[in-house]
Amino acid sequence: MTQAMLHSFQIHTHARYFRLATHQTFWQSRIVNSDPHLWLKDHGDYLYRYALSRLHNEDLASDMLQETLLAGWRGFENFAGQSSIRTWLVGILKHKIIDHIRLDIRNRKLAESVENDPTSAYFNENGSWSEAPSAWQDNPEELCQSEQFHAVLESCIGKLPEKQQIVFRMRDITGDDSDTICKSCDMTSTHLHVLLHRARLALRMCLQWNWFGEGSRS
């Protein structure tokens, strides 16, 4: 098929909704639908869940989805066709979420110094445990079905300093990778690991007292 034939094919059959990424030859390309309404229909719920699990706010998640669909429509020429359209849209959404969180942290001027290590409270001067961690008998499947446990867990996470909460939620609840979190929060991976260590030990202690410890549920 010649370029001229291809051109007329494009113009006549999919003038508006089907576009080919310009730098590709016909044989490499797949025809991908560029109608944002169809993207919303096919991938809307998936993208919405992705945003909601990171932003924990329905209106905000819907706004991010809207911006993503519009950005995808405007920048469709950049779609390389090597990944699926869903993967490409998730990539756009991911960057929008990172930018949002970064701005939010800057605006609220959240900072936590690396000095004054709060984990020191759990250890003696020689670095051994001041209160020995006990073995927890519950298993995750049973725990996650308990409404009471959800409440205790959420209140324990809520007691963490704000920046620890943000990185802990991103890492252990949403499951984002370290790179994404470092970018969102403008921090080095070492700083991130320091904060996660603090958050996890504090959370462990809180659950020990309020859930797993002897007599905590009586």
Partner: protein
């Protein structure tokens, strides 16, 4: 060879986020072998991670756009893209 539990707790946390180096791993494993407290702490941290993972899946696994949200999105798209 006794490494402070505080340092080991950091490695227990880090092992959830990155691959430990060879020396770190050796230090970590050997300490857990002799220290029941750190073994418990390590298991506690893993239990928290797994429980949160399961809770998250049940919480957002079923989330969908509402009809209202969907209509609004279609309208905005129409206004901004003309199609």
């Amino acid at each position: 060879m006794k490494h402070a539990c505080k340092e080991i707790s950091r490695l227990a946390s880090d092992s959830l986020d990155r691959k430990l180096g060879l020396w770190e791993k050796l230090k970590f494993r050997m300490h857990l072998f002799i220290c029941v407290n750190c073994r418990n702490c390590d298991n506690n941290l893993k239990l928290i991670r797994n429980a949160l993972d399961l809770i998250e899946k049940t919480k957002y696994g079923q989330a969908r756009l509402s009809d209202v949200q969907r209509d609004q999105l279609h309208q905005t798209l129409k206004k901004n893209t003309g199609c």
